[in-house]
């Protein structure tokens, strides 16, 4: 009985918390490039089978996930977070906001993210995106006021993650909390 409880409990924990090997972390962002290849580990396979998602293929791109800002405070949809800086080399990128179950969040603008072509940039090519519950000037990504959310940064046609073992992969944009309503 105890054995079954320990075993199933451990399985439940690892599959819901998202434990997988071979991760690549840059700042607040974490990617699992191997999950998009035949070399995917058993934990990531089990997670994908449970959630029903299709991981981005390694020859296609790589997806970075963030659940908290650079200081480690969890994303709260009632707060304002600013994402700014540079992105790694990629032909295109997209940024999308989801709830913890991977669903997009309803909002009046019907905006769920930005692409590298859409985002409004400064003269030097840098950009700032405001993730906030209420309208902001510039690049506003609405949170819909939900309690917890996840940001996914997908890089398409990129060398990141393909060459494994390198640590100087950055930079990824910084995420800073600006205050809560």
């Amino acid at each position: 009985m105890l054995a079954a409880a320990i075993g199933l409990g451990a399985t439940w924990l690892t599959l819901t918390r998202g434990v997988a090997f071979g991760s690549l972390t840059i700042g607040a962002w974490t990617a699992w490039p191997k999950s998009g290849s035949a070399g995917i580990d058993p934990y990531a396979r089990a997670i994908i089978a449970r959630t029903g998602e299709l991981p981005i293929g390694m020859g296609d791109g790589v997806a970075f996930y963030a659940r908290a800002d650079d200081a480690g405070s969890d994303f709260d949809g009632r707060c304002t977070f600013t994402i700014s800086g540079m992105t790694p080399a990629a032909r295109y990128w997209t940024l999308t906001l989801y709830d913890l179950n991977g669903r997009m969040v309803a909002n009046t603008l019907d905006r769920h993210g930005f692409t590298s072509e859409e985002v409004v940039r400064e003269a030097d090519g840098q950009f700032a995106i405001n993730v906030a519950p209420r309208a902001r000037p510039g690049n506003w990504l609405p949170t819909g006021g939900i309690e917890r959310f996840v940001l996914v940064w997908r890089l398409y046609d990129t060398p990141i993650g393909v060459a494994t073992g390198t640590t100087k992969e950055g930079p990824m944009p910084a995420i800073v909390r600006k205050g809560c309503s």
Binding site: G36, G52, P55, G57, M58, T96, T115
Partner: protein
């Protein structure tokens, strides 16, 4: 006391085995994986466009809303699959998944280097049946080996701006996924 500690130790060991077994069995046991979700929505061996995910409805979680997507749910029992996907102006990719959602191959428009991504999809046994000289002359057609008889081919086309979604969808409408003889 020793007996109690030993039984705890045994429970942890057994628990570890249960844990590993359940993790390894999950991909086969799941009824909610991507393939199972697509069975009622897609015929076999045909390209079917997927609705763009919205906050209200999304077939799979964590879909990228900036992309138009189409899927070919394949079954190689009756022959090989000939896939033809014209590339769009922005970015097009084709990703191959096994029955249990393992992305075993992916290619984008630049890697394909042509105006269309053309591929032959077959099992290792079917590949072995392809005549040697045929293999050489057909070298301009990429051959992909599927580890499983059934699986998914997902075609994705980027709409860099929302206004370009219609164009991205049209590019996918021309994609074909047809069953062909092994040769």
């Amino acid at each position: 006391m020793i007996r109690f500690l030993l039984s705890i130790l045994a429970a942890i060991l057994l628990g570890g085995i249960v844990h590993l077994a359940t993790v390894l069995a999950m991909p086969q046991a799941s009824t909610q994986d991507a393939y199972s979700r697509l069975v009622p929505l897609t015929p076999v061996n045909a390209v079917v466009p997927l609705p763009t995910p919205t906050a209200q409805a999304s077939i799979m979680p964590f879909m990228d809303p900036a992309f138009a997507a189409a899927v070919c749910r394949y079954d190689l029992s009756d022959g090989i699959i000939k896939l033809n996907a014209p590339v769009s102006q922005a970015y097009t990719s084709v990703t191959f998944y096994t029955r249990t959602s393992v992305a075993y191959y992916a290619i984008n428009d630049r890697a394909a280097g042509r105006r269309a991504i053309e591929l032959d999809l077959m099992t290792a046994e079917q590949h072995a049946q392809v005549p040697e000289e045929e293999d050489v002359t057909a070298a301009d057609r990429l051959i992909i080996e599927s580890p499983t008889i059934t699986g998914l081919v997902v075609l994705r086309t980027l709409a860099p701006e929302p206004g370009m979604m219609a164009m991205a969808r049209r590019a996918l409408d021309a994609a074909r996924c047809q069953i062909g003889p092994v040769q």
